[in-house]
């Protein structure tokens, strides 16, 4: 009987710790999770057909999104590419691509979400991309 009581107390304690831990998840973490999961849904609906469920692309027709160097170095330009479309030669993982991505009608917050998703999937780990930052980047579109 004692053992039961002890394990019950243990269970309650553990639950408490979990609750505290979860609620202590920082606001930043929550914000990231929101962007990331919204971005995942947008990716599935608007990008996955072309770029693939694992960001693998399609042969030499559509470039992959798993070249961490490319995504990292071009991060400020990505919002422009996705909003206005992209055309011309690019090199990704030493493979050459010359295709055309159509423009999209995504709002800045949606662009931020989908960028947060791809920047933290397929091997990328670049942290959150916020809506304000996207709006800033869009001003610099060529």
């Amino acid at each position: 009987m004692k053992l039961r009581a002890a394990s019950a107390i243990g269970f309650i304690l553990l639950s408490l710790v979990t609750v505290i831990f979860v609620s202590c998840q920082s606001d930043a973490e929550v914000e990231f999770q929101r962007y990331y999961s919204n971005g995942g849904a947008i990716y599935q609906a608007r990008c996955q057909n072309c770029h693939g469920a694992h960001g693998e692309g399609l042969q030499a027709l559509i470039p992959p999104l798993n070249d961490t160097t490319y995504i990292k170095t071009n991060k400020p330009a990505l919002a422009c590419y996705i909003k206005n479309g992209m055309k011309g030669k690019i090199v990704i993982l030493s493979r050459h691509f010359e295709g055309e991505m159509p423009a999209s009608d995504l709002a800045p917050v949606e662009l931020a979400s989908v960028l947060s998703y791809i920047s933290n999937s397929f091997g990328n780990k670049l942290g959150i991309v916020k809506s304000e930052q996207v709006e800033e980047n869009l001003k610099g579109c060529k």
Binding site: N49, C50, Q59, A60
Partner: protein, 216 residues
């Protein structure tokens, strides 16, 4: 009680296995017609199934391709266009699995009809084929006339339509399996990898079908 459940489980399993046995045959789809013939005073009734009619196209190598070139072949058909922003990339990502499974098989072909022949000329189709990583004569990308293609699509039970105001073509993503007698033996949602695995299984079944010899 335990025995009872066990017995049911065995019956269920046994039945499930029956479906996967060697005797699975694919259905014959499309319109059917009963044709009654009288030969030597004997009247017989045959079922005549819908078949793919004659057609004439050009492939990515600039070769003329008619239905005759597919005589004696099992083939899979789909409808696409090279600049398709929506379902075609995923269709052809999945079709590559079919291609890789059967590219060294004689008597098997894949044909993709372009529904945008104005843009998808022979050089455009060739470039697309190269980028897709396909070579040889297993998978043909075909350019024809728009009218013919739209009519032909109906015979494959596929729906394609003119460009909508947004400049997109609305079309089905089905893969259609055709037997050596040019009858429709299966339709598969080309955007769904599971459906495409079913297609790969069905091609194996069809290849093994004893009746799969040219009649007439």
């Amino acid at each position: 009680m335990k025995n009872f459940i066990g017995a049911i489980a065995i019956i269920l399993l046994w039945n499930a296995c029956k479906f996967n046995g060697d005797h699975k045959t694919l259905p014959i789809l499309g319109k059917k017609q009963a044709v009654t013939k009288t030969v030597d005073g004997k009247t017989t009734t045959d079922t005549v199934y819908q078949t793919i009619p004659a057609f004439k196209y050009i492939n990515q190598y600039g070769d003329s391709i008619t239905d005759k070139r597919l005589d004696g072949n099992i083939y899979v058909a789909d409808f696409f266009f090279t600049t398709c922003p929506s379902i075609c990339p995923v269709m052809h990502r999945n079709m590559l699995n079919v291609y890789n499974a059967f590219k060294d098989t004689t008597g098997f072909k894949i044909i993709s009809y372009s529904i945008d022949p104005q843009h998808d000329s022979v050089p455009v189709l060739k470039k697309y084929a190269d980028k897709l990583g396909i070579a040889g004569n297993t998978w043909w990308l075909l350019q024809g006339t728009k009218n013919e293609t739209y009519q032909l699509a109906k015979n494959y039970l596929v729906s394609v339509q003119e460009k909508n105001p947004a400049g997109e073509y609305i079309h089905d993503g089905y893969f259609i399996l055709i037997d050596k007698q040019k009858r429709i033996r299966g339709t598969y949602e080309g955007t769904d990898p599971k459906e495409v695995n079913r297609l790969i299984d069905d091609i194996k079944t069809l290849k093994a079908e004893p009746g799969e010899t040219k009649v007439q």
